[in-house]
Symmetry: C2
Subunit: 453 residues, 2 copies
């Protein structure tokens, strides 16, 4: 990566102010946009446009052919799940049998291998146009539960991995205290637990924000954090991001109702855990009252459609949540796929499957869901506008997938995929081009082989 | 494309005899495999493997790194729908409102523009590893219904387009006689109709098979072919492929029941239209009796999952059909996406969404569904084996998407996409490599622009 104090790009087309505009000149200084000027046509550039030149930025203006979007935000990630892609598909089963395989990998990681795997995964994200990741992190301690010498060694590994990959990270340090309702942690889970929420909060207090890293909190789920511990986590989160897995599985809802006589949403509502800084991840199996609670509190609902397909979670009530006031965000979660463009269209397409109607979300709304950087701690990203963090994700509008589709926002959301991302800038620096893909593949293969060895 | 009388490839890994084998030497003569020999390792080739060289075949042996599959079969295509990708997503609506937009394009095509659009679309298919397409063709006549001088001018355009693209075509010439139950053709539909099934059969009799083209028949749907005309189509199809759109929409089922007192499946069953040569396309909204009919007759069910998502059709009972005896095949239909690997996994993933269980289909079963060449008239393709048509589709197992996933059949079906297809051979000839993508994109853009001009 180059360090670009000042740089400028002439974007053939770009998503600016809720529309696709032509010939947008963006100027960048110290990682932020200092000028965004549409209609800056340079006739003598027409020739070079067809040559598809993607330069590293320097002090001159670089032309980026194609359609440029703001940086994408992957609001729910478990980086280490990337080691499972393609490897959990042999057996019949459910979410719960998949989880056993996932725990096998979770039990074997240490700070070094976690760093390597996360760095490779974050580089795959960078190449797919993701400039912020929300990492839902619960692999805190050694496999037997003993803290590392640096009790945040694993979290620091993730922050360093994101820095190396050139993306920003919202480190959502996750409180995980119980295996199920009233059951102590078991197996791989012992390394997730700090014992109680107070000790979790003490450890998390040792984490510090960096220019590329925001620190947030997470409640793993109402299974993993007993009701009497919830308030401690909510208070420790302060004004920062607070994430929580919510009602991904019917079995969790049933157990929660049996234990507390309340749905998971009701439990979180009663603990003061809902609100605009909170992201409820999945939010798949909800009652009407749950939807009302999430909507009236302006809670974010982070859908992870490709994972929800892979794990057979079901199709959540996305449009109903939005109608009630909730704000939709997106994540690649288990990384069966890392492609926020596919997550965007999957939000729409799965709602079509559920309703037999088309057109639930406009492309603009889906782009907003795919650029929700504020939900992972970066409110100053996600828009190509003066003063904002200078992220640019350029799509090839001439590929076999995108050719002839209009090169507008529908092309981005309904035709393009991660394979069409040609050039990615985060905080003013080039973090990925197509030339990097081969190297990223090698790094992924090495990091994953190490985990399975 | 080169003409390769004899050629040979050493495949790093290949799907042969229902397993992924290493170092498979395949020899090809006159478009067919003459030898398939696993375990043919050549230690001095290791260096060139890492260089990822993809040669055009000649008389020496070429090493293909990655995972090689048989050619993929796209069993349901409307080539001209490719012009709609990304362009029908702005409005709310249903299948029926989408159809109005589709008719707009259908009304404007002539044999020249149809040829150009189909050739570009088939080249996109070739680059995605598709070596046979089943083209469900009903744009027969001039826009006012008058036959062209060559009454099969439009069908001949498709056959020529496939030949130019290097893929095989099962031309499923489609009988389309009525707009709805008891209503004459209207608008764009007038160019679809031959008046009655006898005149349809007379026209189709003028089509001749070619080495790369099989001629089959199709009943558009029970909406478009009155009950008393069905038998004529079935008889004209003879022993060849017979395809039919079946129960894609609940509204069609309702109208059929109201008109005939029978479901579409029952109607087709009573007309003798079901059986192993028949492909029921979509088969989404079925009764238990429908499933029994389709299964007991060993009818093929051609699912088109990415289109069924796009059009909000719903999720068909794939596993129940297979359990009853039906054979699943796959198609990209409206070409919102052209990626048979995605169709394969979508068959599994959408069944997961419907059932909240995982593991309905093995990767081997999904690969079988994606290589059902026999259903479009090419029973001698779809397997890497001596005597079969020499099709080879090679996937990059080191990409950002596929790295670390095991390079086995699960990689193909659950991790790879069309963007990972590096090298495609059909009938012994190289029809696409990654180097062709830019040219294909240009051809698609030009053909689609012509249609929308």
């Amino acid at each position: 990566m180059t360090s670009a104090h000042r740089s400028a790009y002439l974007l053939e087309r770009a998503w600016v102010d809720g529309a696709v505009l032509d010939d947008v000149l963006v100027e960048i200084e110290d990682g932020r946009f200092t000028a965004v000027t549409p209609g800056t046509s340079r006739p003598d550039d027409k020739a070079s446009s067809s040559q598809r030149e993607f330069h590293r930025p320097a002090d001159e203006t670089h032309r980026l052919p194609g359609l440029t979007l703001p940086g994408l935000a992957n609001c729910h990630s478990h980086a280490f799940h990337r080691a499972l892609r393609g490897r959990t598909q042999r057996e019949r089963g459910t979410f719960w049998t998949w989880r056993e395989q996932m725990y096998g990998v979770a039990g074997r990681l240490d700070p070094d291998s976690y760093f390597e795997l996360a760095r490779a995964t974050y580089r795959e994200m960078a190449a797919a146009g993701i400039t912020s990741v929300g990492e839902f992190h619960y692999l805190h301690h050694q496999p037997d539960g003993t803290p590392y010498d640096d009790p945040n060694a694993m979290g620091h590994a993730l922050v360093a991995a994101a820095g190396d990959a050139g993306i920003r990270i919202g480190l959502l340090d996750t409180c995980y205290l119980s295996s199920g309702f009233g059951r102590p942690p078991e197996g791989a889970q012992v390394r997730y637990s700090d014992g109680d929420a107070v000790r979790w909060a003490e450890r998390v207090a040792g984490l510090e924000a960096e220019p590329h890293a925001a620190i947030g909190a997470a409640i793993h789920s109402v299974r993993a954090v007993p009701r009497d511990q919830l308030t401690t986590v909510v208070e420790a989160a302060g004004g920062g991001p607070l994430h929580v897995h919510l009602s991904e599985q019917v079995a969790e809802n049933d157990a929660c109702l049996a234990t507390y006589g309340a749905t998971p949403t009701q439990l979180l509502h009663d603990a003061g855990a809902l609100g605009p800084r909170t992201s409820a991840v999945h939010a798949t199996h909800l009652t009407g009252a749950d939807i009302t609670h999430l909507g009236s509190t302006r809670t974010r609902a982070c859908f992870c459609p490709t994972t929800e397909r892979d794990l057979g979670d079901g199709i959540g009530p996305g449009r109903a949540l939005a109608a009630a006031g909730a704000v939709l965000t997106l994540g690649s979660d288990s990384h069966a796929v890392i492609d926020l463009l596919e997550e965007m269209r999957a939000l729409e397409l799965d709602e079509r499957l559920a309703t037999q109607q088309r057109g639930h979300w406009t492309a603009a709304e889906l782009l907003a869901a795919g650029t929700a950087h504020e939900s992972v701690g970066f409110a100053d990203a996600g828009v190509i506008a003066v003063g904002r963090r200078a992220d640019l994700v350029t799509l090839d509008t001439t590929s076999t997938r995108t050719a002839g589709t209009g090169a507008d926002e529908a092309t981005a959301v309904f035709a393009a995929g991660a394979a069409d991302v040609t050039h990615v800038v985060a905080d003013g620096r080039v973090i990925a081009t197509r030339d990097d893909h081969e190297d990223i593949g090698r790094e992924l293969a090495a990091a994953i082989e190490r985990v399975h060895r």
